[in-house]
C-alpha cells in the first residue's frame, strides 16, 4: 500500500505510505486549494486566488512553477490535463475524511470511542496560514466539529455513556464558549446522571460567563433545562 495522503488539519503534510514528501510553499498552497474543492478549477482562477497581488502573467508563471514542482515530488497529486486543475482522484485528504465522520455524527450516527477522540483532537484547518481563501472552509469545519460534538454529547448521554458524553460536551464548549446549546447539553447530561448540583454549578458558570462577555443572562430555554429554581446558595 503506497497511497498518497494529504493532511490539512494542523500543519500541512504529504505522505506516500509512511514516507513524508516535501513540497515547496507555492506547491503546498496549490495542493491545499485544490484539495478543498470538489470540482476542477480553471487555471486562471487558481492563479488569481493563490497569487492575488501580482499581475496575471506573473501569477500564471508562479502557478506553472508550483505545478512543475508537484510533478517532480508527487506527480499523482494534481491532475492537470487541460485548462482545469484538480486534485488527483486517488489522493486521500484528511479534511474530507473528517467532514464525513463529523457529518455522520451530527446526523446522529453512533461512533466508537476512538473516532470520538479523533474528532475532539482534530486541529483546525491550516491554523497558521493567513490566506483569505481558507477562511470560509476553516469556519465551516470548525462549526461542523462543534455541531458534531454537541450532538454526540446528547446522544451518548441518552445511551448512558455519560463519561464520553461529558468529554464531547465540554470539548464543544471549549471550542465555542458562548454557545448556549452546548452548555444546555452538558446541563441536561448532569441531570440525567442525577447530578443536580453539577447542573446548577454549570449553570452558574455559564451565567457568569455570559454576564461578563455579553452582558446578558442565560436564555429561558437554558433556565428551563434546569427544571426548577436555581438555588442561590453561593459555593
Amino acid at each position: 500500500m503506497h497511497g498518497v495522503r494529504l493532511h490539512l488539519l494542523g500543519e500541512l503534510s504529504l505522505w506516500r505510505g509512511s514516507q513524508p514528501v516535501r513540497l515547496p510553499p507555492g506547491s503546498q498552497r496549490l495542493a491545499a486549494f485544490l484539495a478543498l474543492r470538489d470540482r476542477p478549477v480553471p487555471r486562471a482562477f487558481a492563479a488569481g486566488t493563490l497569487w492575488p497581488e501580482v499581475t496575471d502573467q506573473r501569477a500564471a508563471a508562479s502557478l506553472r512553477s508550483a505545478l512543475w514542482r508537484i510533478g517532480q515530488a508527487c506527480p499523482e497529486l494534481v491532475t492537470a490535463g487541460g485548462p482545469e486543475l484538480s486534485l488527483g482522484s486517488e489522493i486521500t485528504v484528511d479534511v474530507r475524511e473528517f467532514s464525513t465522520i463529523a457529518a455522520s455524527a451530527r446526523a446522529g450516527a453512533a461512533l466508537d470511542a476512538s473516532a470520538i477522540y479523533r474528532l475532539i483532537d482534530t486541529e483546525g484547518l491550516l491554523p497558521g496560514w493567513p490566506e483569505d481563501w481558507l477562511a470560509d472552509d476553516r469556519e465551516r469545519l470548525r462549526h461542523l466539529r462543534v455541531d458534531a460534538m454537541e450532538q454526540l454529547c446528547l446522544q451518548l448521554g441518552e445511551c448512558g455513556r455519560h463519561g464520553l458524553a461529558a468529554v464531547a460536551g465540554m470539548a464543544a464548549i471549549a471550542a465555542e464558549p458562548l454557545r448556549e446549546s452546548a452548555h444546555r447539553a452538558v446541563i441536561r447530561l448532569h441531570l440525567a446522571q442525577g447530578n443536580r448540583f453539577e447542573a446548577v454549578r454549570h449553570y452558574r458558570l455559564l451565567h457568569r460567563m455570559l454576564a461578563r462577555e455579553l452582558g446578558v443572562q442565560p436564555s429561558p430555554l437554558t433556565r428551563a433545562a434546569l427544571d426548577g429554581d436555581v438555588p442561590v446558595t453561593p459555593r
Partner: protein, 236 residues
C-alpha cells in the same frame, strides 16, 4: 509520576516547573505563559496569547507585555518555541495534565483495566485557586474528565471484584466533589460490594445531610433505595 523528560510543567494541584526533578522558582508572568501553552496542545498565536493573558490592556500594551515576558521565559530556560507568530511549548517538555488526560481516557473506556495505575495523577484539580478567566473552562473540562474517569474506574474495579481498590478510587471521586451524586453512588456501590454496609449507610447519611444543608434538596430515590435495600438485607 516520574518522567523521562528532564523538564516538566505540573499544573495539577498547583503550578510547578521542575528541571531534573528540582522545582524552579518562576516569576508570575512566566508562570502564566507556560501555563497557557501547557494547556494548549497546539501552537497559540501571539495576539491570542496576549489577549487572553492581559484582557484588560490595549492590544499594543498586551503585545508589549507578552514580548517582555517571553524574554524572561528565555532567561528561565528555553522552554517556548516561537515560529512565526505562533508560540508553543518545546516538544520535550512533559506536562502532567496531558498525561492525566490520556490515563483518564483509558479509564473512561472501561475495557482495559491497568493492573496498577498511579491514582495520584487523577487526585487533583487543575490549578485550584487561580482565578484567571481563561482558565475557567479548561479547569471545568479537566474536572469533569477526572471525576467521570474516577467513577468509571471505581465501577470497573467493583465489577471485577477488586473492591478494596474500588473503595479507594471511589473516595477520590467523592472527595473531588462531595455534592456530586454519581461520585457518591460509585463509592457506596463499592462499599456494598466490599461487604461494608455500615460504611455505605454512613456515607449516604453524610451526603444526604450535606445536600440538605447546601442545596436544600434530597438524594435521588434510586440512591436511597440502593442503601435502604442493602441495610435491610444486612439486618436479615
Amino acid at each position: 509520576m516520574t518522567y523521562p523528560s528532564p523538564v516538566c510543567v505540573r499544573l495539577l494541584g498547583g503550578f510547578c516547573l521542575e528541571v531534573d526533578g528540582t522545582p524552579q522558582s518562576v516569576p508570575t508572568g512566566v508562570r502564566r505563559v507556560l501555563t497557557l501553552l501547557a494547556l494548549r496542545d497546539r501552537p497559540v498565536r501571539r495576539s491570542v496569547a496576549a489577549g487572553l493573558l492581559w484582557p484588560e490592556l490595549t492590544e499594543r500594551r498586551a503585545g508589549a507585555n507578552l514580548r517582555s515576558t517571553l524574554w524572561r521565559v528565555r532567561r528561565s530556560g528555553d522552554l517556548v518555541v516561537a515560529s512565526g507568530d505562533q508560540l508553543s511549548l518545546r516538544q520535550d517538555v512533559a506536562v502532567d495534565v496531558r498525561e492525566a488526560t490520556a490515563v483518564a481516557r483509558v479509564l473512561l473506556d472501561g475495557t482495559q483495566v491497568p493492573a496498577t495505575i498511579g491514582v495520584g495523577c487523577l487526585a487533583q484539580d487543575l490549578l485550584p485557586g487561580y482565578y484567571e478567566q481563561w482558565l475557567v473552562l479548561d479547569r471545568e473540562q479537566f474536572r469533569q474528565l477526572r471525576l467521570h474517569a474516577l467513577e468509571a474506574w471505581c465501577a470497573t474495579l467493583t465489577a471485577r471484584g477488586r473492591t478494596g481498590e474500588a473503595v479507594e478510587v471511589g473516595l477520590l471521586a467523592a472527595q473531588g466533589e462531595p455534592l456530586r451524586e454519581s461520585a457518591q453512588r460509585s463509592l457506596i456501590e463499592a462499599y456494598l460490594a466490599h461487604g461494608t454496609v455500615a460504611e455505605a449507610v454512613r456515607r449516604y447519611h453524610r451526603y444526604r445531610d450535606l445536600l440538605r444543608a447546601e442545596l436544600g434538596t434530597e438524594p435521588s430515590p434510586q440512591l436511597r433505595l440502593l442503601v435502604d435495600g442493602a441495610a435491610v438485607a444486612a439486618r436479615g
